[in-house]
Symmetry: D2
C-alpha cells in the first residue's frame, strides 16, 4: 500500500495522519501510540476498529508534531520497521496536504459543478490537476475555473488507445485520486488495477438496487418510495466496489421520471462530494469488498 510516497510540505511541522490495517493482535494500539509519544507527538484523534469476523485491525491516528523530535521526512522510515513487524498495509499523510485529483466527466455537469464550487471555497484539501472528458461539452465550465481540460474520445474500437492516453496524462500530472463525476464509460480492469482504492465513482442508485444503466428508469418502473445514490471505489466488477457513502430521498407516485432525475441530481452531487471529502481526509480504509469509514 505504501508505494505512494509521502510528499513533505515546506513547513517543518504539522499534523500527521496514520492509516493502518493488519491482522489483529494484542498491543497494537499501545505500540503505535507509544511510537508517537516517545517522539513527542500529541494524539489529537484516534479511531480504531476490529472486524469481529475477519479479525482485522484498522486504525486512523492524527497527531500534532509541534514537539516532534524527528523530522517529518524521516517519519516513514522510522515507522516502517513497526509496520513490517505487524505485516501492515499503511500510509502516513500530512494533514491538509493536498491530494492531486483528476476528474473524469462526460456530459452531465452537476457533479463537476459541485466539486469545482466546493473546491473554490476551500472545502477540499485537493489540487484538481486536470479534467478528462469523452465529450467537449463541459470545457467552458472547466475553463471558468481555470482547470486544464482534455477531451479523450472513447469508442469501442479506440478504448484501449484512449485509456493509454488517459493513463499517460494521469502519470504526467502525478495524479493520486480519480473522481468519476458521472463519467459514462466503464474502465478496463487494467486501468482500474493501476489505481486500486483510488478511483471514486458515483452511481445514481441505492446500490445494490438498480445496477447498470438507467437506474432512475428502473426505480420509476418499480415504484419505489425512496431513491438513492452510492459513491464507491471502482473495482473490476461493475458497480460492485467497496461503498464509501450512500444517501436517499423520498419520492412518491407524483414524481415523474424527470422528477426522479432532478431529485437524484442533488443526491449524486452531495454523496460524491461527501465521499471525496472522506477520501481526501484519509478517513476510508478498504476491508475486502467493504470499507471502514472513520468519520
Amino acid at each position: 500500500m505504501n508505494t505512494e510516497r509521502m510528499k513533505v510540505p515546506d513547513k517543518s511541522s504539522g499534523d500527521v495522519i496514520l492509516l493502518l490495517s493488519c491482522r489483529d493482535r494484542p498491543g497494537l494500539v499501545s505500540r503505535i501510540s507509544h511510537f508517537i509519544y516517545e517522539r513527542g507527538g500529541n494524539i489529537l484523534d484516534l479511531d480504531e476498529h476490529v472486524d469481529p469476523v475477519e479479525k482485522i485491525f484498522f486504525i486512523r491516528v492524527t497527531w500534532s508534531t509541534e514537539m516532534f523530535t524527528i523530522p517529518l521526512s524521516e517519519l516513514e522510515s522510522a515507522f516502517a520497521p513497526l509496520a513490517k513487524e505487524f505485516g501492515a498495509c499503511w500510509k502516513i499523510r500530512i494533514s491538509g496536504l493536498k491530494t492531486r485529483v483528476a476528474i473524469f466527466v462526460s456530459r452531465y455537469e452537476h457533479c463537476l459543478q459541485e466539486i469545482l464550487w466546493r473546491h473554490s471555497i476551500g472545502e477540499f484539501a485537493i489540487d484538481i490537476a486536470l479534467i478528462i472528458a469523452n465529450h467537449p461539452d463541459l470545457g467552458l465550465l472547466a475553463a471558468h475555473h481555470g482547470i486544464p481540460f482534455h477531451v479523450v474520445s472513447v469508442s469501442r474500437d479506440t478504448k484501449e488507445e484512449a485509456e493509454g492516453q488517459e493513463l499517460l496524462l494521469l502519470e504526467q500530472h502525478a495524479i493520486d485520486t480519480i473522481v468519476l463525476a458521472r463519467y459514462m464509460q466503464v474502465l478496463s480492469p487494467h486501468f482500474v488495477h493501476c489505481y486500486p482504492g483510488r478511483i471514486i465513482n458515483i452511481h445514481h442508485s441505492f446500490l445494490p438496487a438498480f445496477v447498470g444503466s438507467s437506474p432512475y428508469r428502473q426505480a420509476y418502473e418499480r415504484g419505489v418510495k425512496i431513491i438513492g445514490a452510492t459513491s464507491h471505489y471502482v473495482t473490476e466488477e461493475l458497480d460492485q466496489g467497496p461503498i464509501i457513502e450512500q444517501d436517499i430521498v423520498r419520492v412518491s407516485h407524483k414524481d415523474t421520471l424527470e422528477d426522479l432525475v432532478r431529485k437524484g441530481r442533488d443526491l449524486e452531487r452531495l454523496v460524491l462530494a461527501h465521499a471525496l471529502r472522506l477520501h481526501t481526509e484519509h478517513r476510508v480504509l478498504v476491508n475486502g469488498k467493504k470499507t471502514v469509514v472513520f468519520d
Copy 2:
C-alpha cells in the same frame, strides 16, 4: 373491484370515502364532486392523481354525510351507474369502519407485538379477528391480547392442505385484509389470487435490493451504509408486489450482522405498521406494479 360489499354501520351518518381509478378523461372530478354535492355531502378531503404515462385517473374523496339526502345503504347503488359509465374500479367505505384483519406469523414477535400494541391504543381502524401461525411460539402473546390463535403447520408436502385450511379460516372470519408479520412462508399463486391487493407483507430490505432470504446477511456482506425495510402487497412473484412504504436507517462498519438485525427490527415494525395504517385508511390504490398512496 367492488366485489367486497360495504358494511353499513349502525349509525345512520358518518364520513364516507370513495376510492376510484379509471381511464382519464375531462369532467371526472366535476362529475364526482357534483354527485356528492347534489346529495348534500360536504367534501372534507380530496386527492387526485393522473398517471402521466398511462393516462389513468386516481381519486380519493372523503365527505361528511350529516346533511346527506340518501341513506348510506343506498349509496353504492346510487353511485354505480356513474362508475359504470367511467369504466372504473372503485369502492366506497365508511370512515372509521373497522377492517377485518388476519395476521400471519411464524416465530419473530416484533411485528406482531407492534401491531397488537398499536391496536390496543386505538391507532388502527381494524378488528384483528385471528392470528394464524405456522409455529406455536407466539400463542402466549396472542392470548395476552385475547386474539384467537390458530397453528397451521406447513411443510412442502402439506402446503396445499395447509393453505386450504387457512383459506377456510379466513372465510369463516370474513377477513378483508391479511398481514404477513414476518411470516416465513411463500404463499401459493392460488392463495394470493384470492386476496388481490389485500395481503400486506414486510420484507426486511430496501427492495429491490436483497430479495429473497437473509437480506441482512446480504447487506452485511455487501457493506452498504444504509439498510431498509419495504412493505408491499403480495403478488404471485416473490418480493415483486406493489410497494406501499419503505424506510431506511444508517449503518456503519461498526455494526455487526446482529446490529443490522436489531436496527432492522425497528424499521420493520414501523414500516409495516405505517403501511397497514395507510391501507386501512383506504389511502392506497394499486397502479399496475406500483401504488398511488394518498397520505
Copy 3:
C-alpha cells in the same frame, strides 16, 4: 390577493393553475371543477385541504386548456364572480410562466450560487431580474451569470433611504418575488408590507430553535445532535413568518463550529432552493402564521 394581474403569455393555450382559499362550505370543489369542465378544461392535478380548526378551505387545481372554450385573457374575469361569491383569496397563473424574482445578498455566496446554477439548468420557472447586495463581494458571480447587480449599502442611518432605493428598483423591474439569500439585514415593516407572502428568507436554524443571530454558535454551545435550516415568508416579526420548508442534518461531538457552518451551508442552499421551487410552482398558500404546501 388578486392585485397582481396575471400576465398572459404569447401562446394561446397552456396549463392553468388556480390557488384559492375561503371559508369552508359545501359545494366548493363541485362548483370550481364544474367551472373548469363546462369551459372544456381537463383537470390534471387537484389538491384540497380544509383546516379542521379554522374551517378554511384551500385548493390548488391545474387544468389543461387545449380544448378551452374561452381565451385565457378572459379567464380571470370569468372566474371573478364565483370567487366573489365565495369571499375567496385567489390567483390564477399560467403554468411555466416565469415569476420575476429579485435576489438580495450580502457576502455569503452559497445560496446565491445554488440558485443561479439551478436557474442555469432550467430548474426554476423564474426570471432573475436583478440582484441587490449591501456589499460588492458577489458582483463577479452575478456578472458571470449575466444578472444586473446593484449595490445598495445599508447603515442604521441610511436604512430608510436604502429601502426606498430598493423598492424603486423592484418596481422598475416589475418584481413579483424577493429571495433573501443570506441577506444580513432586517427589512422594515413598511418594506415587508409591500410584498406580503412574497419575500422568502432562509434562516440557518431549525426554527423556532435559535432565532436571531449566530444560530450555529448557539447550536454548538447547546450541544444539539441535529441542526436544521428553515425557509419562511418574511413578516414584520423577525424569524416568525410562515414556514415553507425545513430540513435537518445530524451532527456529533466531533463537529466543530466550523463543521456546523459547513454542514449547514448545504442545508441552507437546498432548503432555500426547495422553498423557491414550491413558491414559483404556486404550491404554497399562507394560512395565518402557517402554510399549506401542496407538494
Copy 4:
C-alpha cells in the same frame, strides 16, 4: 465520578470498558493503552475525542481480559494511580454487566411499553428493579412484566415528602440509573443532585425548540414542517440538560394536533430507547452542558 463502585460478576474474565475524561496532554492514549497491554488485555474498541475549545480529553476503551494478569477485582485499584495523576473523572465497567434501572412514569404508556418490550427480548443490559408512578394507571402493564410497581402521589404540598419516599426506594434497590418515561413531574434540585448524569429524560420536542409544556401544541401552532424528540440528562434547569440523542419526523399541513401526538409517540419511544441503550453501554460522557457520545 468513581463513587459508584464496580460490581464484579461471578465470571472471572470478560470484556472491560473504561470511560475517562481529563485535561488533554501528550501521552494519554499511550499510557492508558500500555496499562492495558502490560496486563495482558487486548483492546477491542477505542474511541477518543479532544474538545478543541476546552482542551479536554475523552476516551472509551474496551478490552478483553482472557489473558489478563490481574483479577478484575483489583483492576480499579490498579488503575487509580494513573487516573489520579491525570486528574481524571473515570469509571470502569464490566461489559454486559446489568445496570440497575428505575423507571418513573405517569399515565402515558408508550415509552414504558417500549422499554419493557425491548428489555423482554434482551436488547438492554439492564435490570429494571422497580417502576415508580405518580398515578396507578400503568400498574397492570408493570405486573404483566413482573416488575414491582410503586405509586407515589405527588402534589405541590407533598412533593418533598414524595421525593424522600422515592429516594429511599431508589437506595433500597441500589438503583444506578433513572429513566423518566414521560414522567410528568419536575424533580427538585436536591433529587437531581443525587443522581448526576444518571437521570435520563425524554422531552417531546426538538430541543431547544418548544421547551416546557405542550410542545406538540406549540409545534402545531407554529406550523413547523418537522417535529422532534430529545433525550437528555436531567439537570437542575428544566429541559436544559446535556442532550444524548434526538430524532425527527416530517409533518405537514394535513397533520392535526392529534397526528403530531401520534407521530411524536413513535419518536419518543425510539429516541428514549436509543439513549438508554447508549447510556447502559457506557457510551456517553458529559462535557459541561453537552455530551460526547461514542456510538
